[in-house]
């Protein structure tokens, strides 16, 4: 039940009885068959605690669960959609950028601050998303939105990658993240906030960077 890319801005999913999809509310463009869209009170499998965690974090992205029998077209705001197929590892992605994902994936939230101390908290503000990042683990398909599409940059132990927090979309692998300032970067006063910081990712994996330094 993977997502099929219709074009760069739309994906199609087949919904079968017994299988469940989650998507951002309002992301359905069209559907055929008997499909129901239910706002998800718990925000997924995280349970009530997860929902509360989100409220605390001021996370604005409500999800809905999609069930039934039919096909559904997903898209949102004309944004570019990228499909990532997970094969067991964990994807870390900003909740705002999640368009839809299969229910076979285990959802969770991660407090980014745990890996970066105080800087992590600042980064939360910087990415504008709150302190929590959504984690998706297991096997399944994820459709992610980005402004203008994404490029994948590999992360290796010898070559850590530095990313503009506004351009960060997601990452997977065994990766440590750290928010830091770079001498000179602070001079780079760009549009919006966050330009004074960079997100440093090290370890083994890959980061998805969007072709824009503007959040969606």
């Amino acid at each position: 039940m993977a997502f099929r890319e219709i074009n760069s801005k739309m994906v199609e999913a087949t919904v079968l009885p017994g299988q469940r999809l989650f998507s951002q509310r309002g992301a359905m463009l069209a559907y055929r068959g008997e499909v129901s869209f239910t706002p998800n009170m718990q925000g997924g499998q995280g349970g009530v605690m997860s929902m509360i965690g989100r409220r605390v974090a001021n996370e604005a992205t409500p999800l809905m669960s999609v069930e039934g029998s039919g096909t559904v077209l997903f898209g949102h705001g004309g944004h570019h959609v990228q499909v990532i197929n997970m094969t067991g590892d964990t994807l870390y992605v900003e909740a705002d950028r999640l368009l839809a994902f299969e229910g076979t994936l285990e959802q969770g939230t991660m407090f980014m601050g745990s890996q970066g101390g105080v800087m992590g908290m600042v980064r939360g503000q910087v990415t504008g998303q709150g302190l929590f990042t959504t984690t998706l683990r297991g096997h399944g398909s994820v459709a992610v939105m980005a402004h203008g599409g994404v490029i994948q940059v590999p992360i290796t132990p010898q070559r850590p990658v530095h990313v503009d927090p506004q351009a960060y979309v997601a990452h997977h692998g065994d990766v440590r993240n750290k928010l830091s300032t770079a001498l000179g970067w602070r001079d780079m006063v760009g549009r919006g906030s966050g330009e004074a910081f960079q997100l440093e990712l090290s370890g083994n994996g890959a980061v998805y960077v969007q072709a824009s330094e503007e959040k969606l």
Binding site: R25, A30, M64, G78
Partner: protein, 265 residues
């Protein structure tokens, strides 16, 4: 002759530009040979040759308007291009494509229609915010992302709808299912849990084609103009037009405030 930028993108000139076809996904080239095309204001980006652009309703275009353009409320958005040469059309880096209508009819959101040949007749659809093209000829439409064609039966989020051809106008589909039961009651009363955003779609049945785009944000601009304030005209019977918040209480079908918001006014 100036050299090409070293193995880079194709350099076009009046001879190599396509006639009445796409240059790339976002740019369309129209060839005029002493002929005319209707086009939306501000959508011409460049042209070779000699061209005149006149607003509709200016004197000598009257006959053309009488036969081809039947939407006085939209007249200020359109101009007639005439002359000889090749003209490039584009719209906000949206995907543009041309379509041929053969003795057919197509209803399209006014903001998505870019240009059309005068052999087609433009009328204002009874559905607010949409225009209907009838006849045989070519037109150019812009969309956020390539247009996706689907056949009924299908239910479509109103904001994703670009238009439809041949099949009957859509009807409303309201999903009240989730409103029932304990959780439903809770949502209705407290608004907690919110709405899925998918409670209402346009439902299409019959034989034809439905045109969709990925856009939960309506293509702004294009004042569609108010419909005549007459009884019986959808959207014209009065009623508030403010952008309503998605309240917990279910809206009754036909309630105008909802209709107008859903149709994109």
């Amino acid at each position: 002759m100036y050299g090409a930028p070293g193995g880079g993108p194709t350099v076009y000139d009046p001879l190599t530009l396509p006639s009445d076809d796409n240059v790339n996904n976002y740019t369309f080239c129209v060839e005029l040979k002493g002929s005319q095309w209707f086009l939306q204001k501000g959508k011409m980006i460049a042209y070779y040759g000699q061209m005149d652009f006149n607003g509709i309703g200016h004197g000598r275009l009257d006959r053309l308007v009488r036969t081809s353009f039947h939407s006085p409320l939209h007249a200020s958005d359109w101009v007639v291009a005439e002359g000889s040469g090749k003209m490039l059309l584009a719209d906000r880096a949206f995907d543009v494509n041309s379509y041929d209508l053969e003795d057919g009819n197509l209803t399209i959101r006014s903001g998505n229609l870019l240009a059309f040949q005068p052999t087609l007749s433009l009328k204002q659809s009874i559905v607010p915010g949409f225009l209907t093209l009838i006849g045989t000829g070519k037109f150019v439409a812009a969309s956020n992302g390539p247009v996706v064609f689907m056949e009924p039966p299908i239910r479509v989020d109103p904001q994703a709808l670009v238009g439809w051809a041949d099949c009957p106008s859509p009807c409303h589909h309201y999903d009240h299912g989730y409103m029932t039961g304990l959780m439903g009651g809770l949502r209705a009363m407290t608004g907690v849990g919110g709405a899925s955003g998918e409670e209402h779609q346009f439902e299409f049945v019959g034989a034809g084609t439905v045109l969709l785009q990925s856009s939960e944000a309506l293509m702004a601009e294009q004042a569609t103009g108010a419909v005549p304030q007459q009884a019986g005209v959808p959207g014209g019977g009065g009623g508030p037009t403010g952008p309503g918040q998605q309240a917990g209480a279910p809206r009754l079908p036909g309630q105008l405030g909802d209709l107008q918001r859903r149709f994109g006014l």
